[in-house]
Symmetry: C2
Subunit: 365 residues, 2 copies
């Protein structure tokens, strides 16, 4: 069992990382005892882990309300969110009830946003069951749903009571989703930790095959980075933006291809390649740095080529989609790029041709 703390002005919250955490009622006890509790999960996660979570709650004398949503990014919209509100209201849950988000990033984003809005805010717990959620989305309080015109456009900053990550859940994670999670892990190395990047290059074959000990270590080190950044910049007014490395390009892929066609981590991987190429064009990375990044992502079985004109994704279309991104300021694109491997910066790129060329070079032909 390892514990990290996200230090925030209001006291912050712990991240518990442990094999078997789902079956450990002691981890849940401080938050749910004597409360009405709802578990929000999806059709894929429910058969695997719902009973474990429910059994832990029953040992604490709590019989949870179960809300099972359809699986996938394509359902991360208002209509699905409404099902959570309907169920909570029908069961007469109050604002002191507790919501548990049991699942991957989509469940965490929607469960968290539902908790943020229900009766103007109810407490909630993140119980992430995918690598992506454990290393990234469950920590830091970003919650959201998608809008047809952009990903995560409607949401809230709303922090959980705690994050409880059971790394045993990674045993059932499909290889494609494991790879998607590794994209965010690689991101931490690229933006702020060269040592970690080298560790990842050394261990990627085993990580990619699902070695639980090494994945547990990757979760821990990723959460350390995330907790540190979030503590310094909860509302993303500065440094936190660095976590969006690869994401502005990636969101364009997700929105342009239709939510769910590309997994978020896959889109981020291809997006990081685009951002690396642009960084090279600006003279910050060498071509061999770009190749190094492409190799590492490829060894994690991640796509390193983005969709191209054949999929309707011309460079101009990318740019149009990117202009909807939340990182736009005064109409100008701000991008997270690399000054060197292990060091990111936020910058405005005034020369659109460079952006278009970097997209073109990195897309499928």
């Amino acid at each position: 069992m390892r514990v990290l703390k996200v230090n925030l002005a209001d006291g912050g919250y712990p991240i518990h990382i442990a094999r078997g955490a789902l079956s450990n009622p002691a981890l849940l006890a401080p938050y749910v005892t004597g409360k009405s509790v709802a578990i929000v999960t999806n059709e894929t996660v429910a058969p695997l882990y719902l009973e474990k979570a429910r059994a832990s709650l029953r040992l604490l004398g709590v019989e949870p309300l179960i809300i099972i949503l359809p699986d996938g990014e394509a359902h991360k919209h208002w209509q699905t969110l409404q099902r959570i509100f309907d169920a909570l209201l029908a069961a007469r849950y109050e604002r002191h009830s507790v919501l548990i988000a049991l699942g991957g990033g989509v469940i965490g984003d929607m469960g968290g946003f539902a908790a943020a809005c229900y009766q103007r805010g109810m407490p909630f717990l993140q119980m992430p069951t995918t690598l992506l959620a454990q290393v990234d989305s469950s920590v830091g309080g970003k919650t959201a749903i998608n809008h047809p015109l952009g990903k995560n456009m409607i949401g809230a900053f709303y922090q959980p009571l705690a994050v409880i990550a059971d790394t045993d859940t990674l045993t059932t994670l499909p290889a494609r989703e494991r790879a998607a999670g590794l994209a965010e892990v690689v991101k931490y190395g690229l933006i702020r930790d060269l040592d970690f990047l080298e560790w990842l290059e050394k261990h990627m074959p085993e990580l990619s095959e699902g070695n639980l000990e090494l994945l547990g270590e990757a979760v821990y080190r990723s959460c350390q980075h995330k907790a540190e950044i979030v503590a310094r910049d909860e509302r993303e007014t500065g440094e936190r933006a660095l976590l969006n490395f690869g994401h502005t390009f990636g969101h364009a892929i997700e929105t342009g291809m239709g939510y769910g066609a590309w997994l978020h981590g896959e889109a981020v991987a291809a997006g990081m390649v685009m951002a690396a190429r642009l960084s090279a064009k600006l003279g910050w990375l060498r071509e061999e740095d770009v190749a190094r990044i492409v190799n590492l992502l490829a060894s994690a079985a991640l796509p390193t080529e983005a969709p191209g004109a054949g999929d309707g994704m011309t460079p101009e279309r990318y740019l149009e989609l990117m202009r909807h991104d939340k990182k736009v300021l005064d109409g100008q694109l701000r991008l997270v790029l690399l000054r060197a491997p292990g060091e990111a910066l936020v910058t405005r790129v005034e020369d659109e041709t460079m952006i278009l060329e970097s997209i073109e070079t990195s897309s499928r032909h």
Copy 2:
């Protein structure tokens, strides 16, 4: 021009109360200069005041995006909110853009909630144009939409940059809406200010007829109370709950009769009579205190009798609807009652018979 301050941990914000405030660009300048600005208003307010607000913005070099919604509580739901998001996204507004809510309580609640959620939070201004919004809903950061199962069930605590109340807008307010606003004014007197209550009793005929000077004074004194309470308890963990005097009964009327059939202030007036009767039953108010409250509300042309069994609103139906209220804790109803005129308290009422009898006595037969 009078200015109040809502003091909050993050610095708080000003409330400007003035005749002609809408036509004073200096009031807007600190918040909008150099920004993309959207005005959210409705079909009733737009023909009256949109051009004034737009002209002030133009003098500051700002051409606002205009979003006109249908008028009324019946539209305070997700589908209408979505129209705000659609318009902001179509115009590529970013999270540093500014939203102005120009209208009554419904526009303030929806505009504020849209601002709270858009790209996880954009700045916004409240420009209330009804008495109810000027004395109550525009101050304090409560934003929300309704759900078929309960009023204001989905929302956020999200504070504006400033409240700018132009009391000249009260000249066009229909008498029925003026009366509805006076219900919330009377509430402040009843829960915490006996002097103000006496002032209201003295001036109610002129207030009810729309005397602008006296209404301006009522707005100022009401906002003083609201600002003081909100500063002490932003998230309604304690004292702020007193502001809900009459509201748990009132919300039952609004939800039970269908949103919009009763104006919020009308429902609160009838709800305050119910709460006063229950306070009398508990031995805190004398029968003459109840009569005094009924008389004051009646002199404001407010309903003092709630809908009854003839409208399907049996006492049992009230109780059922009240159980959905956000003030429920551990399944028990907590109600705001009066210990004396000018002094409120929050209490659990264990004897349901007393509640049912107070409802019965106060409803139409």
